[in-house]
């Protein structure tokens, strides 16, 4: 991170548009609680961070007092493979977590961009979900408990270490996707699954995004065993990629049948190569400080229309790429910073989203652009209630002030 001398005092730039005066490295949850209690009492703002992969998402903010570094709050707290559950500190990288689970033939079945940098607390806070959401769901579906510190410093836990639990209110799943606005997660409890024994992918070329998207819909309807199915446009070419995961025999058959349905198969992967391909795709379309990245969400029935419109708008423009997850109604577009940073193109895409009843989030953009186009799209329904919740968790508003709606 950069240290900037702004004249009066130095600030640390954690990410473009996110600056803090001092960095505090969390040692344990008591330390976090004391810091937040002090910050609330003294009305000093706090930006919690892990791998700093998603700090560039959101509104431009004023310089905050504290950057709370959670990477040191890492490691496994409890893991009993026979229970298919694990409790892990929030600063643990996803790669470290998957390695621990992998050694016991288990995994958390999710896509994560740059897993060696992304912390589990961070990915829970941002609510990211990739193409595996189609069959395996999201982290929200795997969360069975957590320990957290509210903005006012109250340290508490909710859930437990069992996979079925309706004791008390569902705070862990509620904190998923709350972007550090309500509390700092200090540890999470997850249910895990047996690791897939085999995987494979098939890539087929298509003439345009619309046809590719419809091919995905047809394939998903015919093959419920498909793990992921996306249509993407990259370097001027359009393709569909399909992934199957499970036992070897089933994977082979699913892919064979998918290949027949898709037609023009140009590439096939299996095992590690398959994993690398999909990780590459997820990384390519994830938040990135050097690009403009937009994520859109609509109903699967409407995604073909939205996809075509975005395609028409950006086709032929150098350096633009898009990926559609038709079964999820999800769409991602990346643009290079250069040439698009006046906001015109992004504004057009925001309008397109509105025209097609889609919501959007500007995941990456230069700070200046984030003042032109609202990064979180339209104000969500229930905003008053969200603000009431925010006041209960963070009465003075010290956590990520100004960065989000709440």
């Amino acid at each position: 991170m950069t240290i900037i001398d702004s004249g009066e005092m130095q600030v640390h730039e954690l990410a473009p548009g996110i600056q803090v005066r001092e960095i505090v490295a969390a040692t344990d949850s008591k330390h976090v609680s004391e810091l937040l209690e002090h910050a609330t009492a003294s009305e000093l703002s706090v930006v919690p961070f892990g791998g700093r992969r998603s700090l560039a998402t959101g509104n431009r903010c004023d310089v905050a007092q504290f950057g709370l570094d959670l990477k040191g709050l890492d490691g496994v707290i409890a893991y009993e493979p026979a229970d298919l559950t694990i409790s892990v500190r929030a600063g643990t990288t996803v790669a470290a977590l998957q390695a621990e689970l992998g050694a016991n033939g288990q995994e958390i079945p999710i896509d994560v961009p740059h897993p060696e940098l992304t912390t589990i607390g961070g990915i829970v806070a941002t609510g990211f979900a990739g193409p595996r959401r189609l069959r395996s769901g999201t982290l929200r579906d795997l969360l069975i408990g957590c320990a957290f510190v509210r903005g006012d410093g109250l340290a508490a836990k909710a859930g437990g270490m069992v996979v079925k639990n309706v004791s008390g209110f569902e705070i862990p799943r509620f904190l998923h996707g709350s972007w550090g606005a309500l509390a700092v997660l200090t540890s999470v409890n997850l249910k895990v699954t047996p690791r897939h024994r085999a995987e494979g992918a098939a890539i087929a070329t298509f003439v345009d995004i619309a046809t590719a998207t419809n091919a995905c819909h047809a394939l998903i309807a015919a093959e419920p065993a498909i793990e992921s199915c996306v249509a993407f446009r990259r370097r001027g070419e359009v393709a569909v990629a399909v992934r199957a995961m499970g036992r070897a025999g089933a994977v082979e058959e699913t892919l064979a049948s998918a290949a027949t349905a898709l037609g023009d198969v140009v590439e096939q992967f299996e095992g590690d190569q398959c994993a690398e391909f999909w990780q590459g795709l997820v990384d390519r379309f994830a938040e990135n400080p050097d690009k403009i990245v937009l994520a859109m969400s609509t109903r699967p029935r409407d995604i073909a229309g939205l996809g075509s419109a975005v395609d028409a708008l950006t086709d032929g423009l150098d350096g633009t790429e898009m990926m559609v997850s038709p079964g999820l109604g999800a769409l991602r577009i990346t643009l290079p910073d250069a040439g698009f940073d006046d906001g015109t193109m992004v504004e057009k895409m925001a309008s397109l989203a509105a025209d097609h009843g889609a919501s959007y989030v500007l995941e990456s953009a230069p700070p200046a652009l984030r003042s032109i186009v609202p990064p979180w799209g339209v104000v969500p329904d229930g905003i008053d209630l969200m603000r009431s919740v925010k006041r209960e968790f963070d009465p003075v508003g010290i956590l990520n002030p100004g960065r989000l709606f709440v």
Partner: protein, 486 residues
């Protein structure tokens, strides 16, 4: 506001046929499925049966003006007292809002009103090759709104998850009468996941007037197996080895001999009457995957000491094997006039110890306990059998319940896997949560319901909501000394 005026206003909203107020008509609403004695019954001031979101919103605004509690109710099959109006007030019955508004096979969603019956939803979409995965045992009667309130489970949640994993959005009437749509956290959405807060909130955060639910594609192949064992210990070790080998079946249920004694003569599903326990295992998915998995599970069961194995592939055969499980509670009447169905969860690896503990408790309190488990999840359903006409029976059951709950918490478990806390387990919350934990929950609730009128006196222990921490200390001490708080 006086009662007559209230009734008048309610009739203005829903019409004359939509309000119940005569004592004889209110009696059936004093109860839900919970055990009388473990949960108090209580009469509401009135019951109202709306047909639309607008009517629900008007009722809620009226209740706000009148300063009255509001208790939402579906089919009233809940087991923890969630639909009982402990503090009086207006019961809003959602049973007349029972339409499936839309089914979309591309989205794989259904938009439903809260009064839609769980099984009827699945039956209605099976023609499209879809079903609604959460399948609690009460699914022939329970409603989607109730499933949302309790975050209901069922035998298939081992693979498919619980209700919260299948709700994509909710239309909610908040305690101040505002109507909002809640969303789930996902790419391209920038708000809080209010849906996550609503599911499992036991009617305390708002009234659901529509639910956008996820529908699941029916698997290409399904096989059900029945494995019989000479001891419950062997059966639970079979469960452990099945999962350790990397299988996650759709369902992994266990029943003990006492349960078999009840169900087999009633339904003739083919459960060996001399087995100490049986495992009912359902594998589903891609046909090749299922075939391989079934062979593996068969071998593992035999290795664990299974005395017999049966397999069912056709829907008729599978339904018959399942009948023994799904109708287990209904069959209990053959063994005793009353039962208290418990709902505790322990980590899977502690299942053998927990089964032993249940047996000790049964002996210590001289109570017959039939055991039905979602073994794959570690979710036990011990059924304590008794006869409330016999003096002392209810007290013995309550004491045994106290011991059971304490034992499960000691093994690293929790108070409830499916049934909810309601009034039934409210007094035990301090066993697993600290004051700070409870405060965080109470203050989340306060954001939704600052006047504390939605289903009051549920979930969060007595005295806590007023910040009377001292009462909480006293309560925790009572628990340590073995007095059952109610």
């Amino acid at each position: 506001m006086d009662r007559l005026r209230l009734l008048d206003e309610l009739e203005r909203i829903v019409g004359h046929g939509g309000v119940r107020h005569r004592p004889v008509d209110l009696m059936v609403y004093e109860y839900d499925g919970s055990v009388d004695g473990a949960v108090d019954t209580a009469a509401p001031t009135a019951v109202v049966l709306p047909r639309s979101t607008e009517q629900v919103a008007s009722i809620v605004r009226l209740a706000k003006r009148a300063g009255l509690p509001v208790v939402a109710r579906g089919a009233g099959t809940g087991l923890s007292g969630g639909a009982v109006a402990q503090s009086g007030g207006i019961i809003v019955s959602l049973t007349r809002m029972d339409r499936v508004l839309e089914v979309n096979t591309v989205d794989r969603t259904a938009l439903v009103e809260p009064g839609v019956i769980n099984l009827e939803l699945s039956d209605g979409v099976k023609g499209e090759g879809l079903f609604f995965a959460p399948d609690p045992s009460s699914q022939k009667a329970c409603t989607i709104g109730g499933n949302v309130a309790e975050n209901s489970g069922g035998p298939h949640c081992l693979k498919y998850g619980v209700t919260t994993n299948h709700i994509l959005g909710l239309e909610v009437v908040l305690p101040d009468g505002e109507v909002i749509w809640t969303q789930v956290a996902r790419d391209g959405y920038g708000g809080l996941d209010l849906t996550a807060a609503m599911v499992g909130s036991e009617g305390m955060f708002g009234i659901v007037t529509k639910a956008l639910v996820k529908l699941t594609p029916m698997p290409a192949a399904t096989t059900v197996m029945l494995a019989a064992f000479g001891s419950l210990d062997q059966a639970s070790h079979a469960v452990t080895s099945i999962i350790a080998a990397g299988n996650l079946p759709a369902s992994l249920e266990m029943m003990d001999n006492l349960t078999i004694q009840a169900v087999e003569p009633a339904y003739h599903a083919g459960y060996p009457m001399d087995a100490a326990g049986v495992l009912l295992i359902e594998s589903d998915g891609h046909p090749t995957e299922v075939a391989e998995s079934v062979e593996e599970i068969d071998a593992l069961c035999r290795l664990a000491g299974a005395t017999s194995m049966r397999r069912a592939d056709t829907i008729g055969e599978r339904d018959l094997l399942w009948k023994g499980r799904k109708m287990a509670l209904a069959a209990m009447g053959r063994l005793a006039p009353n039962y208290y169905l418990h709902d505790t969860v322990v980590p899977r690896s502690r299942l053998p110890e927990t089964i032993d503990a249940v047996e000790s408790i049964s002996r210590a309190h001289k109570l017959k306990i039939a055991n039905v488990f979602h073994a794959g999840d570690g979710n036990l359903h011990p059924l304590m059998l008794f006869d409330r006409r016999i003096p002392g029976d209810v007290e013995r059951v309550l004491e045994a319940s106290h011991d059971l709950i304490h034992a499960c918490v000691e093994f690293g478990g929790t108070l409830s896997g499916e049934h909810g806390i309601g009034t039934e387990k409210r007094g035990y919350m301090t066993l697993i949560f600290t004051e700070d934990d409870l405060r965080a929950m109470a203050e989340l609730k306060r954001a939704f319901d600052p006047e504390q009128r939605f289903n009051p006196n549920k979930v969060i222990p007595t005295g806590y909501m007023c910040g009377e921490v001292k009462q909480l200390h006293i309560q925790a001490m009572r628990q340590q000394h073995g007095i059952v708080p109610v």
